[in-house]
């Protein structure tokens, strides 16, 4: 459990700065530092076991079927990285307190920083590949936030976007690699994966897996050719650069190389890809660093070069090289973080990072200068400093490899060349900034920073020196434990002493120091040469690339999505024909073996009427009123078909819906043109007819195939239990209000939502009143026919009575809430038509939206009432009572539910039709501003 807290504390720490933002700056920084400090203590508590080579685990299952679990796993390598992340993180918190100005939001900065720290810890502590990947992506996102911290600067935004694009894309490649690994190994558990080296490397997909994996690592660790994002990320505040770009973020890729070293390395492909990439990065980074005038730019390219060095070490494939790689991870983190912080101090106290302006700072800030010089010397590989030791090991290893066969000797040569440049740029950092004349054109006089801003640098520089002099005492155990984890087994003999005697590596170091000095002294010629080369602006070319890509996408999108709904419909329907039609062609016989019912004259006549009416609707669809009349015939025939085939409930529903639909469409015609202009070309008609024909054939065939197949249905259950379980003999109604009551509740809710949506759509509609019909005949001034109003008045009570009758008998005979509701609604609509809105409103002033709400509430509360009896939602209840006059009476809770349905249907239908009908009157829906 303490293991989990190591990860949880920084996560909770994300909130701390936000909560303490109101305190003064030091208190806020102190509070922020507490969680990682505790986490570090917890980590140190486990250090004896970890240094002894043990692996500590904490597992909490989440979804084991999917291979998902919370798995914390700490071994030597994870311990080393967690130590760097938490330790340097704490120093950064202290440093940032002084670096950030009053105008910057310190709380926001710390919150991002803690989020990033959590993400990094998550990567190194994960024991599950998917969990690791999640944290990996989180580092991309949180580093994006950190790099763009000064979002008012364009370069910060662009740099952050570039970093996110490159590392995010690499993250996707990594995910693919992890998924492949999971498929091959059969598990996402790190322990299992690391133990399955043979299985993975024998697999035919290993090359693909390795390339994807390395893409992830190389993008994150800024390896050539993905290195360009790192210099542009220097737009970040310096504490961010010191943390992300020295010790953590860019080391995440290296960490993965080390982590999966036991599982993936050892093949020819690994050697070639990793070592060549590392070598190229090492050289390019070291060379370009010399020419950067920006302090942080120099450090960025130097970081790239050192990352290349570590990559090259892991690519060599010997055990000693891996140990050297781990050692250099530690050393690079310490001297590079301190150098970044020193650069930040110089920037902070002199107002510039340009080495052409910064000269002779020694006289202004001697202490900072001393610290920076020691760290830079460590970077150059000067003896008695930590950088020297790992560089010696690196040189020794380059001499022992045989990667390139007979021309393997170029590797030590190139390594020395890179070291020469490394010395040269380190000298530039020292000489150009602190000596070399007087500052030129600085806006303020440089001075020493606040006392505590220097403390982090001092700590790290002290480590550089101490490790450089007493390597064995200080980090011998740590290095051993980490190497043990990387090599998954035996750690070779190695010596951490400062003096190995007069040997070839030492000669290479001496050569590098001498050559570097020589190049630095004669740098002017090199600078002149470099200036003749065309300037490579990675940021602009990257953005141009992204823009081109986006433009291509827009063009492709415009081709697919041209804004024509008809075209989309055509495409959807064509795909339907293909998808649904293909299986039909595989069916030998459409007939499924069920005897057809005999034809009779009534049915044939009905069918013919239906077909003719449908055809007429299509033919006359441009004469809209005629088409409307024709389609009402179709609807009528459909409801007759329902009666014919034993569905009286459906027939009643269809009939009453038909009435309201036609009224609705009539009303709509008032507001829409009465004729459709002829617009479609003949070819369009042919196309549409063929598509419609194909869909019709497919649907008709499906329907026939379905109908002629024997039926096996779950309906027998409903028929058997309708009376005993639901208390009704009309099975359809019992299904609606009882068996499938929850569905019905959903359906009336949809109905209510649709009607409310309509109500809302009609408010504030720009008013227009056509004064004549489509043929130019003016509308009659006599608005309400006397005959109709007289008849409709006497019809209302009758209709209401009928609907009540239909409602109550619904449980046992055809009828029910839906049908009764529609009948009532139609009767009331008739009043509107016959008498007008004013007349109805004077007699029945109801807001129909409230009716809908009441109906839904009734249904919902009926369902909820069963909770009172400790039953699940919508459990029904019924019983029989002997009422004196009426005799034996059945009461069922389903009746109450059906009442809810009834009220909702009445309310919705009236809301729809009455709102539309009121459009031409002064009662049309208006938008009420609520305050």
């Amino acid at each position: 459990m303490t293991l989990l807290w190591i990860l949880l504390l920084p996560l909770l720490g994300t909130l701390v700065p936000l909560l303490t933002a109101k305190w003064n700056r030091s208190a806020c920084a102190l509070a922020t530092a507490l969680p990682p400090a505790f986490a570090l203590m917890l980590l140190m508590y486990h250090s004896p076991a970890l240094l002894a080579g043990e692996t500590l685990q904490f597992v909490r299952q989440w979804a084991p079927v999917l291979g998902l679990q919370l798995h914390i796993r700490i071994d030597g390598l994870a311990f080393l990285f967690a130590l760097l992340i938490l330790g340097i993180g704490l120093l950064i918190i202290l440093y940032a307190r002084y670096y950030l100005s009053e105008r910057d939001s310190m709380a926001r900065f710390y919150a991002y920083l803690m989020l990033f720290m959590t993400a990094m810890l998550g990567i190194v502590l994960s024991g599950n590949l998917l969990q690791l990947w999640l944290f990996w992506e989180l580092t991309s996102v949180s580093s994006f936030l950190l790099i763009s911290f000064w979002w008012h600067k364009s370069e910060a935004r662009r740099g952050a976007r570039m970093a996110l694009t490159v590392t995010g894309a690499g993250g996707l490649a990594l995910l693919a690699a992890f998924l492949l690994t999971g498929q091959i190994v059969g598990s996402y558990e790190l322990d299992l994966v690391l133990a399955s080296a043979e299985l993975i490397q024998q697999h035919s997909l290993y090359p693909l897996l390795l390339v994807l994996f390395l893409l992830g690592c190389f993008t994150k660790s800024a390896q050539f050719p993905f290195h360009f994002w790192l210099p542009n990320a220097m737009a970040a505040p310096t504490p961010v650069s010191a943390y992300l770009h020295s010790a953590t973020m860019v080391k995440a890729g290296i960490f993965l190389l080390a982590r999966f070293y036991p599982a993936l390395s050892g093949t020819e492909l690994w050697f070639v890809l990793v070592s060549v990439t590392g070598l190229a990065t090492l050289l390019i980074g070291a060379y370009l660093a010399l020419f950067k005038h920006d302090l942080k730019g120099l450090l960025a390219y130097s970081t790239i070069s050192h990352l290349g060095l570590i990559t090259l070490l892991f690519g060599m494939g010997t055990d000693l090289a891996a140990v050297a790689g781990v050692f250099h991870i530690i050393n690079h983190a310490t001297f590079k973080a301190s150098l970044f912080m020193a650069a930040g101090i110089i920037d902070h106290e002199s107002g510039s990072r340009d080495m052409r302006k910064l000269n002779g700072l020694w006289q202004f800030m001697p202490i900072t200068a001393t610290l920076a010089m020691v760290a830079a010397a460590a970077m150059a590989g000067v003896p008695l400093l930590n950088g020297f030791l790992s560089k010696e090991m690196f040189f020794a290893e380059t001499l022992h490899q045989h990667l390139l066969g007979s021309i393997s000797w170029v590797i030590p040569v190139l390594a020395t060349v890179a070291a020469v440049f490394s010395v040269a740029y380190s000298m530039r950092f020292i000489h150009d900034v602190f000596f070399n004349g007087q500052p030129k054109g600085l806006t303020k006089t440089p001075h020493e920073p606040p006392r505590y801003m220097r403390v982090p640098v001092e700590v790290l520089v002290a480590l550089c020196i101490l490790v450089g002099i007493f390597p064995g005492y200080l980090i011998g155990d740590l290095l051993h434990a980490a190497s043990l984890a990387v090599l998954a087994g035996e750690v070779p003999e190695y010596s951490l002493s400062i003096w190995h005697g007069l040997n070839l590596p030492l000669l290479m170091s001496v050569l590098a120091l001498a050559g570097g000095t020589l190049i630095y002294v004669n740098r002017k010629h090199l600078f002149d040469f470099q200036n003749t080369l065309p300037e490579m602006d990675a940021l602009n070319s990257f953005e141009r690339l992204v823009k081109q890509f986006a433009a291509r996408c827009v063009r492709l999108y415009g081709f697919i999505d041209n804004g024509s709904l008809q075209r989309y419909m055509t495409l959807v329907l064509l795909s339907f024909v293909i998808l649904a039609g293909t299986p039909l062609t595989n069916l030998a016989v459409l007939w499924g073996g069920r005897e057809e019912l005999p034809l009779d004259a009534v049915n044939v006549t009905g069918a013919l009427m239906l077909l003719i009416a449908a055809f007429a609707t299509v033919v006359w669809h441009r004469k809209r009123v005629v088409a409307l009349l024709m389609i009402s015939v179709v609807g009528l025939m459909v409801s007759i078909a329902f009666t014919r085939f034993s569905a009286p409930d459906l027939a009643l529903t269809q009939l009453s819906v038909e009435v309201v639909t036609i009224i609705l469409l009539m009303l709509a015609l008032f507001f829409l043109p009465h004729k459709t202009p002829k617009q479609s070309e003949a070819s369009r008609v042919v196309r549409d007819v063929s598509i419609a024909g194909m869909v019709g054939v497919v649907i008709g065939s499906l329907s026939y195939a379905l109908m002629t197949r024997p039926l096996s249905s779950i309906s027998d259950f409903f028929i058997a239990n309708a009376k005993t379980g639901g208390g009704g003999t009309n099975v359809v109604n019992v299904i609606l209000v009882d068996f499938r009551g929850f569905d019905t509740l959903g359906e009336i809710t949809v109905l209510g939502i649709a009607s409310l949506g309509i109500f809302k759509l009609l408010t504030r509609i720009p008013l227009f009143k056509p004064s004549s019909d489509g043929d130019g005949r003016p509308w009659a001034l006599e608005r309400h026919s006397l005959l109709l109003s007289t008849v409709s008045q006497s019809l209302l009570p009758l209709a209401v009575m009928v609907s009540i009758y239909i409602f109550f008998r619904g449980h046992n005979l055809p009828g029910g809430g839906f049908i009764a509701g529609l009948v009532t609604a139609v009767a009331i609509i008739l009043q509107y038509i016959a008498q007008g809105v004013d007349w109805v409103k004077a007699r029945m002033n109801v807001e129909y939206q409230r009716v809908v709400a009441v109906g839904l509430l009734i249904a919902l509360l009926t369902g909820a009432a069963s909770w009172l009896f400790n039953r699940p939602f919508l459990t029904s209840w019924f019983d029989y009572f002997d009422v004196p006059v009426l005799g034996k009476l059945e009461l069922a809770s389903a009746i109450a539910f059906d009442l809810g349905v009834y009220v909702t249907v009445v309310g919705s239908t009236l809301l729809i039709l009455a709102s539309l009908g009121k459009m031409t009157t002064s009662h049309r829906p208006v938008h009420k501003e609520t305050i």
């Binding site: 804004g563 309906s715 099975v731 720009p766």
Partner: protein, 117 residues
């Protein structure tokens, strides 16, 4: 009988689809209504055709499948609500945009290209 019903369903579908492919809102509404007839019939007939067998207990020897009927009953009502929503949308679109084309603007080759850019 099944052949005849299947023909009717297929024909209604075809008519509905053809109308829905028109460019003006009103034929599209007609098409949608027609298509919902076809779909309702299709679902209904998935319970097979039964003559004189309404699913009211005690009225006949064999009963029609009540489950598709219950499904179609609510489908009819919701179909009405959806048609109504579409109708109002069309009215609103005409009021706001000044025409009754489904795309909200009359087809015009030039203006189309400008828009999509």
């Amino acid at each position: 009988m099944e052949t005849l019903v299947a023909c009717c369903i297929g024909f209604l579908t075809a008519c509905g689809i053809f109308l829905m492919l028109r460019g003006r809102t009103f034929p599209v509404m007609l098409g949608l209504t027609m298509l919902s007839y076809a779909v309702n019939l299709f679902i209904f007939t998935s319970g097979r055709l039964t003559l004189r067998g309404a699913a009211v207990l005690g009225t006949s020897e064999h009963y029609a499948d009540p489950l598709p009927q219950a499904l179609v009953l609510t489908a009819i009502v919701i179909g009405f609500a959806m048609t109504a929503f579409l109708v109002i949308l069309a009215i609103r679109a005409r009021a706001d945009l000044g025409n009754d084309h489904v795309d909200g603007k009359l087809p015009d080759a030039d203006s189309f290209k400008k828009e999509s850019r």
